[in-house]
């Protein structure tokens, strides 16, 4: 048990990790360039044939890294697009990825906060109320097997009809997706105290609330953080999914989709990587909080 408290989980990128990260990234970049050649070659050969031009292998490779609609854009193409849409575009512009990222992030965070809260509340209920455990848990599980994309439009329509538009419907969908890992992790965590530790509370005739705050909660924290890291990534996915039926107006999801309508692979990839960076940053943030909290709890180094 004591060790579970110290479970480090995933760590963020810290200074000490810079070298390994750089080396691995470099390896991946090389792989990526190679994959771009491999995947785009057919189209490039077609294009050369269409122009009736002679070509060498060098031309082919250069061509695969410079297509307008490649199957897999080369890293520098994506980087250039990201630079253009993140740095070179005013953040108020609709072409700015910062603007779209913020739209998505705001509903992600709102949904994540609500989902975490809901997840914890449900877990607490399930652990403490037998009737809830038996009647609710199977239905919570069933709820997660409902394809969200199928009911997202209905959610949007229904919420829209009661006057909720914009941020909230998207956050609701994030909440719906991200509360689940929290429930599952917390139910496990809240039940993780060992029997002797529970017995001790019994000898004090501690109330349910006291046992909860003084024993169950601290024991559940490592489980909670493992869940939160998963949940925040899922919450972002939820926000992006929710951006489709809201009319795909703004947000990284809308960008992705719009890119997809027009086969703009470079745009898709830059939105995708921005989303992934955002997710990684959020996960890293959770790790930081986790480390701080577990250290305050006397975690063994």
């Amino acid at each position: 048990m004591a060790a579970a408290i110290t479970a480090p989980g995933l760590r963020g990128i810290s200074a000490g990790d810079a070298v390994p990260v750089a080396v691995v990234s470099l390896g991946l970049l090389v792989l990526w360039y190679a994959a771009a050649v491999w995947l785009n070659a057919d189209l490039q050969i077609d294009a050369f044939a269409r122009q009736g031009a002679d070509w060498t292998t060098g031309d082919l490779i250069a061509g695969t890294w410079a297509q307008e609609r490649p199957l897999l854009p080369a890293p520098h193409q994506v980087a250039a697009e990201m630079w253009a849409t993140i740095v070179d575009t005013a953040i108020t512009s609709k072409r700015s990825l910062v603007y779209h990222g913020w739209v998505t992030l705001s509903s992600t965070l709102l949904g994540f906060a609500a989902g975490t809260l809901l997840g914890i509340v449900l877990a607490v209920g399930i652990v403490h109320v037998r009737a809830l455990e038996k009647s609710l848990l199977p239905w919570i599980i069933a709820s997660q097997t409902i394809p969200i994309l199928a009911i997202a439009p209905m959610v949007i329509v229904v919420l829209g009809a009661v006057g909720l538009k914009g941020l909230i419907p998207k956050a609701v969908i994030s909440t719906y997706l991200c509360f689940f890992p929290v429930v599952i992790g917390m139910v496990k965590g809240l039940r993780a105290p060992d029997l002797l530790q529970m017995d001790l509370m019994r000898t004090y005739n501690a109330s349910g609330a006291q046992t909860f705050f003084k024993l169950r909660w601290p024991t559940a924290l490592p489980f909670l953080f493992a869940s939160l890291k998963v949940a925040i990534a899922i919450s972002l996915v939820g926000a992006i999914i929710a951006e489709l039926p809201t009319g795909a107006q703004a947000g990284l999801g809308a960008r992705l989709l719009a890119g997809s309508y027009y086969g703009q692979t470079i745009q898709i990839w830059s939105a995708l990587i921005t989303a992934a960076l955002l997710a990684a940053a959020l996960v890293a943030l959770m790790s930081l909080i986790e480390r701080a909290v577990l250290r305050a709890m006397g975690g063994r180094p």
């Binding site: 002797l196 000898t203 004090y204 501690a206 063994r300």
Partner: protein, 304 residues
């Protein structure tokens, strides 16, 4: 009241000494036990703190039942200091856990302070020292000790003061800010003793509290505990493996047989309340110790 005792236990363990029922100082005879029981309703002194009759407990496990306790009769009066001694695995911990309402008996009767164990637990009738320290790893030693006080709602200043006092009693001053894993095994055990003492319960249930301590600290804590018991008139139920410790501390020593745990002997030990460690050299002390050892040995012989 005045229930008839079942004869089983006595008949099955025809050893010298009372067959379990403890009620009068001196060799507890069955008849005397009954007599007291009957007077008790009239004049409730000395009050029975723990009253056990025909208690049995069976654990169901993956490969068959384990008979942990069988037909145990025991009565502990207020102010008693009772030690359980018996071979490893004989059911001492289980019996203590039944008293503490941490385990439910399979059959038989038990009352604590005249109430069911559950009610007694809900009234916070006792402090319990587990066989393992069971400290919470995320709390410092001080905050582990003040845990019961927090639960019982004492003010912060009072909590701090009590933690100071009892950590001092168990020689752990200076370790308030450490976490459990930074302490040695014996220190952890002492912290858990301080935790049980600090809310000053009238009934103390202690499961081998001094097992991991050296003789000197042990002697010291024996004296402290005896002093506390003497001053406050607490009732103590104590599990130990040390015969001298049992004889030195107790007013009664309950010797148990191997699984299924039964009481095979109850030995009185009448040293004056203010006794010192030196009594351990007296012939009377040695005589009692010898009798306890004999009982234990017989229990072991019983097994093979």
């Amino acid at each position: 009241m005045g229930r008839r005792r079942r004869p089983g236990a006595a008949a099955r363990h025809p050893r010298e000494g009372g067959p379990g029922e403890l009620s009068l100082p001196g060799q507890g005879a069955a008849m005397a036990g009954m007599a007291l029981r009957m007077t008790q309703t009239l004049a409730p002194s000395p009050k029975a703190v723990v009253d056990i009759e025909g208690l049995s407990l069976t654990f169901q496990t993956n490969d068959g039942p384990v008979y942990a306790l069988s037909n145990v009769d025991l009565r502990i009066a207020q102010g008693d200091f009772v030690s359980f001694i018996g071979p490893s695995g004989c059911g001492k911990t289980t019996l203590l856990r039944v008293i503490a309402d941490l385990e439910k008996a399979t059959s038989g009767k038990i009352s604590v302070n005249g109430l069911s164990p559950q009610e007694a637990r809900q009234k916070r009738a006792y402090g319990y020292v587990f066989q393992a320290p069971a400290l919470y790893p995320w709390r410092t030693i001080e905050r582990n000790v003040t845990l019961p006080l927090e639960i019982m709602g004492l003010p912060a200043a009072e909590r701090k003061e009590r933690a100071r006092r009892y950590l001092d009693l168990v020689n752990l001053s200076g370790f308030e800010r450490k976490f459990p894993w930074q302490l040695s095994g014996g220190m952890q055990q002492r912290a858990s003793i301080a935790r049980a003492l600090c809310f000053e319960p009238d009934l103390l249930l202690m499961d081998e509290p001094f097992g991991a301590l050296d003789e000197i600290v042990r002697d010291h804590l024996n004296e402290q505990l005896l002093g506390l018991w003497d001053k406050t008139g607490k009732t103590v139920v104590f599990v130990t493996h040390s015969i001298p410790e049992a004889v030195f501390l107790s007013t009664r020593i309950v010797v148990m047989s191997p699984r299924p745990g039964r009481i095979i002997d109850v030995i009185e030990s009448h040293f004056p309340r203010g006794r010192g460690l030196d009594i351990r050299e007296t012939p009377e002390f040695l005589k009692i110790a010898h009798r306890v050892r004999e009982g234990l040995r017989a229990g072991h012989a019983y097994e093979d």
